[in-house]
Amino acid sequence: MQKEILIAGFGGQGVLFAGQVLAYAAMDTGKIVTWIPSYGPEMRGGTANCTVVIADEEIGSPLVKNPPLVIALNLPSFDKYEELLAPGGTLIVNQSMVDRGAKRDDIRAVFVPCNEIAEEIGDRKLMNMVAVGALLTALPELSLKDVEKALEAHLPERHKHLLPKNYEALKRGFEAAQKVPA
Amino acid sequence: MPAKGWIEVSDTYCKGCELCISACPQGVMELDMSRLTPRGYHPAHTFKDGCTGCAICALVCPDAAITVYREITKAVPATA
């Protein structure tokens, strides 16, 4: 088994942390995993992305050209990775920040209004967790519980009080994605 | 009575850093939260009358985003 997940968005949208949560969950459930960020020029700003590879044997390349699983948190990422997504792959799109539908029909695009959902929960920062929750519908290797456990185990103490809301964000995202017709 | 002036803030250059706003002696500037520049910033603008064209905003602007005009024609060298 090997699954590659690419998460992309603006810096500040919690792209890297979203990937790390998945990586921790994979590690804690005894899988082999890699997490690698795109590290930009020696200066500020711009878009960020990271790739998470989950497998049950030694992982070769931590990067893939055509990932089967993608989370696009903003329009530029949607534009870029819709093209690169592997045929038959799943693309979780943050509906709140894109104004168009999918162009390809050989992929499964799941539109989730992550910002809105996060704001409903009361913490706009959690939109990345909403997206992660949505992704889990396409990643049987990790359950909601696995990710919740990972958050609990690895969230820095000072953020522990945010756990309930994180759980909710994951759940809401998961449900929202399930509702979307396959 | 003070001179009357006005400014233009370039969407290309403004990064919404607010330095001009805090420097404006007339307190007539603020960020325009109603819009984003192409590069994703809320640009500065004058939200009420009172600009004297003193060009202090331009003097402190790190991005040379502000052009300053004045009704009276004799241009005072602002930054020399």
């Binding site: 790390q20 990586a23 921790y24 590690m27 082999i32 995993v33 890699t34 997490w35 690698i36 960020p37 590290y39 020029p41 020696e42 030694e58 992982i59 070769g60 390349s61 931590p62 990067l63 893939v64 050209k65 055509n66 690895h154 | -």
Partner: protein, 370 residues
């Protein structure tokens, strides 16, 4: 110890600490700065020496000084910074004191960029500073390997009184993987018979790289060469994948080797009998295993994140017996498995380049890529 999630650069720093690092001297440079930043907090905590030097030149000479006292000492930098250390490295080598240097390589030449690259291979393995001197060079491809090789680097440097470099590309420095850290080694100061740590109750000692009389310098060069023969005999390390029944072999180190592994697996899935050799010590280089392989396989495909540097070492080992092909990406570009898979297919199909120098046909192929 249980596995924890570690970022390459920080894992390297912590592994060095656990291996008994007593002093770190460095200067910030992307993509290795996390090593320095991590140690700026960790070393003082433990009451060990940390100095952000005025430059890489300062750093390597602080390392030189501390190394002369016999403690475990290291520096780390990235390509341009490492170039500034060449005189110092040559002095350290000529003085025969142990020192560890990490190079998290980035795109070059010149200022280039900060993306992952392997284009300092020749500098680390062959050229570098002036004069002849052997140096051990380790090339990890994962966080766990980086940890293990960091610990090893201090042992080897000490055992052979030699420079031990650890070269990795930016992505090994930035990647996060679950890995196991070694136990914290207690600091035990060995009083080496050569260390200049104050002549208390013993004859005074001198450490220098001067041999003003040429024959004496020649003897020194021979002594180093003899010691190098031991290293070549005992310290060669590499990893083999699917070699038993391989009809041809991909050779790559660090990230390029890792990416090749994915490609090799994909090729195997297509029924192509290809194997992978990933050198772990690039100096001493696994010439022998390649020499033997050259006796039974039909071709080699060398893949690197540079213009073809380790390639020459493979060619030296193969000695023209079978074709050696090359595929590289450079300037900070990391190849995807598909690219290497395509090359594997090409070689499997027997479309080999005619020229003596495989770079020539590679460059033409790359042109058509653009």
């Amino acid at each position: 110890m249980p596995k924890e999630m570690w970022k390459g650069n920080e894992a390297i720093a912590e592994a060095a600490v656990r291996a008994g690092l007593e002093a770190y001297f460095g200067y910030p440079i992307t993509p290795q700065t996390e090593i320095l930043e991590y140690l700026s907090k960790r070393m003082p905590e433990l009451g060990r020496a940390f100095v952000q030097a005025e430059s890489e030149l300062g750093a390597i000479n602080m390392v030189y000084g501390a190394a002369c006292t016999g403690v475990r000492v290291m520096s780390s930098s990235s390509s341009p910074g490492v170039s500034l250390m060449m005189e110092g490295l040559s002095y350290i080598a000529g003085t025969e004191v142990p020192a560890v240097l990490v190079n998290v390589m980035r795109g070059g030449p010149g200022l280039g960029n900060i993306a992952p690259a392997q284009s300092d291979y020749n500098q680390a393995v062959h050229g570098g500073g002036h004069g002849d001197y052997p140096r051990i060079v380790l090339a990890p491809s994962s966080v766990q390997e980086a940890i293990d090789l960091m610990v090893l680097s201090f042992d080897l440097a000490e055992k052979y009184r030699m420079i031990c470099m650890v070269i990795l590309d930016g992505s090994v420095g930035q990647i996060m993987e679950p890995a196991e850290m070694p136990e914290m080694k207690p600091i035990v100061r060995k009083d080496f018979e050569w260390a200049t740590n104050g002549a208390v109750g013993r004859e005074r000692r001198i450490l220098s790289s001067i041999y003003i009389d040429p024959p004496a310098e020649e003897v020194t060069n021979f002594r180093l060469a003899k010691r190098w023969q031991e290293v070549q005999a005992d310290e060669v390390r590499y990893k083999e994948y699917y070699l038993d029944d391989a009809e041809f072999v991909v050779v790559g180190f660090g990230t390029a080797g890792r990416v090749a592994l994915s490609a090799v697996r994909a090729a195997r899935a297509e029924g192509i009998k290809v194997g992978l050799l990933r050198p772990v010590t690039v100096s001493p280089y696994p010439y022998q295993v390649i020499d033997q392989l050259a006796g039974r396989v039909s071709a080699f495909l060398v893949t690197e994140m540079n213009m073809g540097q380790m390639l020459e070492d493979v060619r030296l080992a193969v000695r023209g017996r079978v074709p050696v092909e090359f595929y590289g990406r450079t300037g900070g570009v990391v190849p995807f498995p598909d690219e290497i898979l395509n090359e594997i297919r090409r070689v499997a199909a027997g479309r080999l380049s005619a020229e003596a120098d495989p770079r020539v046909s590679w460059l033409t192929r790359m042109a058509s890529v653009k």
